[in-house]
């Protein structure tokens, strides 16, 4: 459950790493992004994110603001130490808009307010990855 390996292909390549402690959120987001041909890895907390192999190869991280082991803003700071150029989209609940500013200061490239629908998610991802992001992905099955 902590990682996803693309089937069929021997080498593991990921486009997006999703960090959220709620399985239904992780899986829902994964479904939508995979349907766009993106290769997706998932992690439930900060610790497993930092040890995840996808961290060094993915092009984008979607990260919940509230994680069981540490705040999402802390995770962004740590990620920036490992991969300064890796964009992170912060997923926030409406209840926590006060933290949005902190997340921005920590270096988040975008925001997604829970609950969101498919189009809002894709829009946010596209904005960060640019034209070649989701669109260029080609579904391998």
């Amino acid at each position: 459950m902590t990682e996803s390996t693309e089937p069929g292909n021997g080498s593991t390549v990921w486009d997006v790493l999703i960090v959220d402690d709620e399985e239904v959120v992780r899986e829902g987001v994964r479904r939508i992004l995979e349907a766009q041909g993106l290769r997706v890895a998932v992690a439930p907390d900060a610790a497993s994110t930092l040890s995840h192999p996808a961290l060094h190869r993915c092009r984008l991280v979607l990260c919940d603001l509230i994680l069981p082991d540490r705040p999402g803003t802390d995770l962004i700071r740590l990620l920036r130490l490992v991969r300064p150029d890796l964009p992170v989209i912060m997923i926030t609940g409406y209840a926590t808009t006060d933290h949005e500013e902190q997340a921005r200061q920590a270096g988040a490239a975008g925001f997604l307010t829970k609950p969101f629908e498919e189009s809002e998610l894709l829009e946010a991802v596209r904005r960060v990855l640019g034209g070649h992001g989701a669109a260029s992905g080609e579904r391998r099955s």
Binding site: V25, I32, K114
Partner: protein, 613 residues
């Protein structure tokens, strides 16, 4: 040991009074005794003078027998015990007691020529002895008898003895009189002290103790009647002020607690509900996209997505309501705010084919306000209006003008107390969106609650049971029962008695007690004159609001929109406008439409912290 203040006071006072009276009695009695003895001495002197005069005559004529008879006669007189005449050797020459004559006493006290003495005789009776010298005179030495040599100076001593019994009896009577008076004084002062203590100390203290007990038991409506015009009265007043403040603090605390727990609850609910909602929405929208070929499935999925989005709006509204962000006031152009609000609802207007007329006066002054929150008010009012006239060819008018608002018909009573300081505002009962003033009303032997319209000059009072038209009514405080009538005032229109409530810092509002006589007076507001305001109107020609809904319009979670309202829009708007020191009025008539009027004061006003509760 517990001893009552009164007892201690009376005992202490009694002791002091008793001691002073005793001291005074000793001094007075001593003086009286001295005066009485002096008086007796004087009369004895006069007597001895008289005896000496007559004795001189008798002696000059050498008629000792006559002198003897005279002395005997005087000696029998009242108040005289004995009169004796000694010669200079101490021999009794003449005595009122004839048996003594010829005997002699030892020269000593009795024969000393000039003295006064007090002595006891055998029966315990006290005596006063006065001795006076009889001196040689030229007449004596020259008399024919030649009894006395001119060289002699002293011829003899006249000794008068008088019983002190009458004096002692008089002193004893005085003593008894003084003791009686002292007892009477002690009793009277004790009684007076007891009465004063009862009136000035015991009763106020008992009232204070009873009030304290009631407050300790949690009854904060307790008010101690203040009658005493001294320190204990001050204490009672301070006590009443304290309970009033307690009530106010408790109310604010409860309000803050309600709001903060609602806020915490909302935040908690929002956080917990957001994750499952995200799941439903992502899966739902994902499936929806893949159901292109299946119209039936697509329709069902559309419903799931739409309703989930509605849940999202409800959670958002709840959080908006709970968050209660503080006002960030700055000079604000209301035209700007109105236009931005219109831009927000433009989609809705187009979608539901609603015509909007903008009627913004060009000379609107800047208002000290929080532009974002005011915009929220406009958006809420506009969305309500859109809902009212949607798809029916209706129209909305948004107007903003400068106005001078007379107190009559507009100035709201935001705080009201009875003369003893009980809070009369009923925040659970609103008239025209504002908390009403609650009082008790008695007419025809029945007592009911009445809710007075808090707006000065408006008479939409809410009465439980109607009185007869024109009947006189008696109004009172629902907490401490104190009557609200103002004794010296009369209704200027019908001369009936008037009643009033106090508005802290703003004088008092009076109403006529006669049912149906809509007369009211608020001198402080009348004197202040019209208030400059900006009036913002959102008006629609929809179906209007029924009176049932009108009463609950500004309550949180009250909605007439059934399916798609959160019931928070007007509650939030009301809180925001209140926060700006303004008012929201609603006018509505079934079948004709609804008009919301927001009035914001132009002068700096106190910000009311009642916010959207």
């Amino acid at each position: 040991m517990r001893t009552r203040i009164g007892t201690q006071l009376i005992l202490g006072m009694g002791l002091v009074t008793g001691l002073s009276i005793a001291l005074m009695a000793v001094v007075t009695l001593k003086a009286q005794r001295t005066a009485l003895v002096a008086q007796m001495t004087r009369s004895a002197d006069q007597l001895s003078e008289t005896i000496q005069n007559s004795a001189r005559d008798s002696m000059l004529e050498n008629r000792q027998d006559r002198l003897h008879r005279q002395i005997e006669a005087i000696g029998r007189g009242e108040g005289i015990d004995r009169i004796r005449l000694f010669d200079k050797k101490g021999t009794i020459v003449i005595s009122s007691d004839s048996a003594e004559i010829g005997t002699s006493v030892e020269p000593g006290v009795e024969t000393r020529p000039e003295h006064t003495r007090i002595f006891n005789v055998a029966e315990g009776q006290r005596m006063l002895g006065i001795a006076r010298p009889i001196r040689n005179e030229p007449g004596c030495s020259a008399a024919a008898c030649h009894a006395h040599d001119p060289g002699e100076k002293l011829l003899g001593v006249l000794d008068i003895t008088m019983p002190l019994g009458p004096v002692d009896r008089q002193i004893a009577r005085s003593e008894a009189r003084i003791a009686g008076l002292a007892l009477l004084t002690l009793l009277a002062s004790g009684l007076l002290l007891w009465w004063l203590n009862r009136r000035l100390v015991v009763r106020p203290v008992e009232a204070l103790a009873a009030g304290t007990r009631r407050v300790a038991e949690g009854d904060l409506t307790t008010a101690i009647p203040v009658e005493a015009r001294h320190e204990l009265g001050d204490l009672a007043r301070a006590f009443n002020a304290m309970t009033r403040r307690l009530v106010e603090a408790q109310r604010q605390l409860a309000q803050a607690d309600k709001l903060s727990s609602l806020g915490r609850l909302a935040a908690g609910v929002a956080h917990e509900i957001n994750n499952p909602l995200t799941g439903v929405l992502t899966y739902g929208s994902f499936l929806l996209k893949r159901a292109e070929g299946n119209p039936e499935l697509k329709q069902d999925l559309e419903i799931i997505v739409r309703e989930t989005k509605r849940c999202r709006e409800i959670v958002k509204g709840l959080l908006d309501f709970a968050r209660q962000t503080p006002l960030r006031r700055q000079p604000t152009d209301l035209q700007d705010v109105a236009r931005r609000a219109v831009a927000v609802v433009m989609n809705q207007l187009t979608l539901h084919r609603v015509a909007l007329a903008l009627d913004l006066a060009p000379d609107l002054p800047l208002v000290s306000a929080d532009a974002n929150q005011l915009q929220q008010v406009f958006v809420n009012l506009l969305l309500n209006a859109v809902d009212a006239v949607a798809d029916s060819g209706g129209s909305i008018r948004l107007a903003a003008t400068r106005a001078a608002l007379p107190a009559w018909g507009h100035a709201p009573v935001r705080r009201a107390t009875c003369p003893r300081g009980c809070d009369l505002m009923d925040r659970e009962f609103r008239i025209g969106g504002l908390p009403a003033i609650r009082a008790t009303r008695a007419c025809g032997g029945r007592e009911t609650n009445i809710h007075l319209d808090p707006v000065y000059g408006r008479f939409n009072h809410h009465v439980g049971e109607a009185c007869e038209e024109g009947a006189l009514q008696i109004f009172g405080c629902p907490h401490c029962r104190v009557p609200l009538e103002v004794p010296e005032r009369r209704c200027p229109r019908c001369s009936a008695p008037v009643f009033s409530v106090l508005v802290p810092g703003e004088g008092a509002v009076e109403w006529c007690t006669r049912q149906g006589c809509n007369t009211s007076r608020w001198e402080t507001q009348d004197a202040a004159g019209a208030r400059p305001v900006v009036e913002l109107v959102v008006e629609d020609n929809g179906p209007g609001i029924n009176s049932e809904a009108m009463a609950h319009l500004f309550e949180p979670f009250f909605s007439t929109k059934g399916g798609h309202g959160t019931g928070l829009g007007l509650a939030v708007s009301w809180g925001i406008v209140e926060g700006h020191g303004g008012t929201i009025d609603v006018w509505s008539e079934t079948g004709r439409g609804t008009r919301f009027t927001v009035r914001l004061p132009l002068e700096p006003v106190e910000v009311h912290q009642t916010a959207a509760a």
